[in-house]
Amino acid sequence: MKRSVMSQKIGFFILSLCIITTLFFLGIILYFITVRGLKVISWEFLTQAPRNGMTEGGVAPAIIGTFYLTLGAILFALPLGLACAIYLTEYTPKNTVVNILRISINTLAGVPSVVFGLFGLAVFVKFFNFGVSILSGSLTLGILILPGIISASQEALTAIPHSFREASLALGATKWQTIRRIVLPASLPGILTGVILSIGRAAGETAPILFTAAAFYIRGYPDSVFSEVMALPYHIYGLMTEGTFPEKQTQIAYGCALILMLLVLLISAVAIYFRQKQRRVHYG
């Protein structure tokens, strides 16, 4: 066999080995969480509040809390991030100032999440006096996912061919009409991909809501954005580190983990549905 053919075969072999390893770990995670989580999941688990020091009943308040926190974070970060991305890609010339802005945003993405938690405590909880609440937690999570949304949106916007913009301008459309009616719809699939990734991030983070939104146990359900809430990731953390019945608590923690995964999947599915719909309309 020729050397070049041989080295190609070895290359492909290594590549496929890598993908198999990755899939193996993904499969194992899904398998363990599902098998262990399914043991405790029941209708009661999904719809009831915890009882008997977290060892019985369900985790409904935590599911609802995580849902609100994630939704709030997206509602805050998506419009803001998208507006920043539009400004940076469409309205500013490519110069040093913009580059510095870009680098700052990327740096923000690298800040550890617990630092965002402390920031949220100082700014939203204390300074704005929102208290430990859904609002403070959502805003903190929102800032956490903001850099991701901005860079995904920027990428999606710059991927739109210049020829679309030219065609629109040549028809007598203004720059804003061009952005709103041509560039944004065409880049929506890419933007939604950023949103989907952010949903997973926001739903799963524990540190940012530790001091800003979450409590281990709350009687009843949140009734306003100023309510303190239970949240799935923090509930898992609490179950594994506190309490007096570790065996029972560990099982419930796996149940929570499975539900958290399903919740992220569900919210992402909505975004994926919109993305597919948009792709069909636009690209046939």
Partner: protein, 254 residues
């Protein structure tokens, strides 16, 4: 040459990309409801010139323009020109077909919508009219709601022409409209351009000399940013005055 009405008058025009001078002292009159072809080797400034007619070069950073371009007597290079208004009057078809990633119908209605046409019935009539006038109607009448990206390259280019016709321009600029098309699609576009002459003033940039000879009434030969020769197509192709033109036409360079 001056028995026709002038639509576009270019006067002492210079254009710079940074420090490079891309167009040097261009003077020419473009006539109403005639087809004017601009030919010349790659990089001679043909596209640059017609992209000034609808101020498309405004988008180019570090560019500078001197001189005047009058369209119907108005200097469109002046700072007071409403560029949006100008582009409505001077349409453009680009080198590569660039339909929007929208349905066939919406590709054409878009130009009307951004120009604040609200009447649905009028828009619908206009869409059908434009498709008929661009010889595309028969091929797409049953699938107006399909994505325009499903069409072939030649169909896409005719859709771009339809899109341009819908906003009722007076002048249509074609920037090498057949450069990426096969011979059959090219012939269809050429027939269409000839047909459109009845209603519109047409300027077409092409590097294809035969195409210029086939479709145009007037031809301008541009070389290294200078207008070497400009006259009726018949004269320029048969008895060119400038030796440079003759050399180019006979394929000695280009």
């Amino acid at each position: 040459m001056d028995k026709h009405e002038v639509q576009i008058r270019v006067s002492n025009l210079n254009f710079f990309y940074g420090k490079t001078c891309a167009l040097k002292n261009i003077n020419m009159d473009i006539y109403k409801k005639k087809i004017t072809a601009i030919i010349g080797p790659s990089g001679c400034g043909k596209s640059t010139l017609i992209r000034l007619f609808n101020r498309m070069n405004d988008l180019v950073l570090n560019s500078r323009v001197e001189g005047h371009i009058y369209i119907d007597g108005e200097d469109i290079l002046s700072a007071k020109t409403d560029v949006v208004e100008l582009r409505r009057k001077v349409g453009m078809v680009f080198q590569k077909p660039n339909p929007f990633p929208k349905s066939i119908y919406r590709n054409i209605s878009y130009g009307l919508e951004v120009n604040n046409v609200k009447n649905k019935k009028y828009i619908e009539e206009k869409v059908i009219d434009s498709l008929k006038n661009s010889a595309l109607w028969e091929e797409v009448k049953d699938r107006l709601n399909e994505s325009a990206l499903m069409l072939s390259g030649g169909q896409q280019q005719r859709l771009c022409i339809a899109r341009c016709l819908a906003v009722e321009p007076e002048v249509i600029l074609f920037d090498e409209p057949c450069a990426s098309l096969d011979p059959i699609s090219t012939r269809k576009i050429e027939e269409l351009i000839t047909e459109l002459k009845k209603q519109y003033t047409i300027v077409i940039v092409t590097h294809n000399m035969q195409q210029a000879a086939r479709v145009s009434d007037y031809t301008a030969f541009l070389y290294l940013g200078e207008l070497v020769e400009y006259g009726t197509t018949e004269k320029l192709f048969t008895v060119p005055e400038n030796p440079k033109t003759e050399e180019y036409l006979s394929g000695k360079f280009g």
